[in-house]
Subunit: 213 residues, 2 copies
DNA sequence: CCTTTGGTTAATAACTTTATTAAATAACTT
DNA sequence: AAGTTATTTAATAAAGTTATTAACCAAAGG
């Protein structure tokens, strides 16, 4: 049943279905849906093109599997730091940095999401259903905290949605700009690691600073 | 020679080449390169598909024409407000809002740029050549102003590149997120106009605020 | 051993896409 | 008006795409 653990071949025990999934993920993340063909996926996975369809029937299907998977992972880790002992500001800083780290660990994801949401907005509805109460849950909790922090004079008045937009913008867009930043600064992939670290703390500082009453 | 001004047909005096260009622009901006076919462009322009190739030879060619055109337009209007009488902060606010307005007037452009730069980074080099000294000119001027403002204690210390990144992130990403924001808030295209206006001033305030010493 | 079954491939149908070509039409020149 | 040039179209070649099918093979169970 495909779950035979030992190496079916030279291929390190991974099932072919999984290999295809990973190949597809890599390609979709790097080049988008339209620019990726099932033939390419098969080549990347090292199998026959028909096998891609055997496991996932359609390209659309395969894509959706990956997409939902990633979006759910992404959304579930959003604003999860919740330590009672910290001030709103300190908690926020931790959440901003955590959010940055998730994206840094999935640097291709922002592109995929933007690409998909703009070329295929219908998918948003399907995703929304898929996530259920998660987003509004996160939003409501954060909103309560923001209101309280404003009331207590810890931060200036700001709409919660604006705050979220600002955090996401600053964190995500940096990774969308990576090719441009790298071209401008002429940094190697290696040096880019340093730039990321600097940006990470700069973003958090910028936001925290901007919230001063 | 195609430049005959009066209406060649019912078609309001526009040349077919121009009509095709505009049709292509609309489609490329809305759906990206790969998702747009020359057949679609022809249909949108109301002509035969071969005509698209007659005028632009290849799809790639047509795309590049539009792309370079847009990027140049975009870059040439970047940080152009330069009024001696204003403080650095006031000038910055004006520049941020002007930048926001350019994007608002070309809401599809961010998507096209991001799409192209990530799927086809080689194009960055070509664009760079195309823009010449413009970017470094803008950068150097802004950099001098930033350093001076820091020295005079008007703003906190910040790297010019970080400031630029922050401005661009906050302004551009909002438009990339438009479908998401619209889905979440449930706003109609009409109501979205109001959201844009609010965001415009919120972004400027956020940045100015974050620069307080 | 032999049949079943899941995994895999080669072959191919049905389309779509880009690009070219030759022919038709319109416009301009003299 | 005749001839030249520019536009426009129908037809089609060439290549690529998704998806299906029939056949092949290897392991597993009786």
């Amino acid at each position: 049943m495909a779950e035979t653990i030992p190496g079916d071949m030279a291929d390190s025990g991974k099932t072919m279905e999984q290999t295809i999934l990973e190949a597809a993920e890599k390609l979709f993340l790097g080049r988008g849906y339209a620019m990726t063909s099932t033939t390419m996926i098969a080549r990347e996975a090292g199998c026959n093109q028909a096998l891609v369809h055997y496991y996932f029937r359609t390209k659309e299907n395969l894509f959706e599997t990956i997409f939902k998977n990633k979006v759910t992972l992404f959304a579930s880790r959003f604003f999860t730091v919740d330590d009672e002992r910290l001030s709103f500001t300190d908690k926020l800083r931790k959440n901003i940095e955590a959010h940055f780290d998730i994206i840094a660990a999935n640097p291709g994801l922002p592109f995929l999401l933007i690409n998909e949401f703009t070329t295929n907005p219908e998918r948003l509805a399907s995703i929304k259903k898929n996530l259920g109460e998660l987003p509004s849950g996160i939003y409501n909790r954060l909103d309560a905290e923001v209101r309280q922090a404003i009331a207590e004079g810890e931060i200036r008045p700001i709409a919660t949605l604006d705050l979220i937009l600002t955090v996401v913008s600053l964190n995500v867009f940096f990774f969308l700009m990576r090719p441009v930043v790298q071209q401008i600064t002429g940094a190697t992939d290696d040096q880019f690691g340093t730039i990321i670290a600097i940006r990470r703390s700069e973003v958090a500082s910028t936001i925290i600073n901007s919230l001063k009453p």
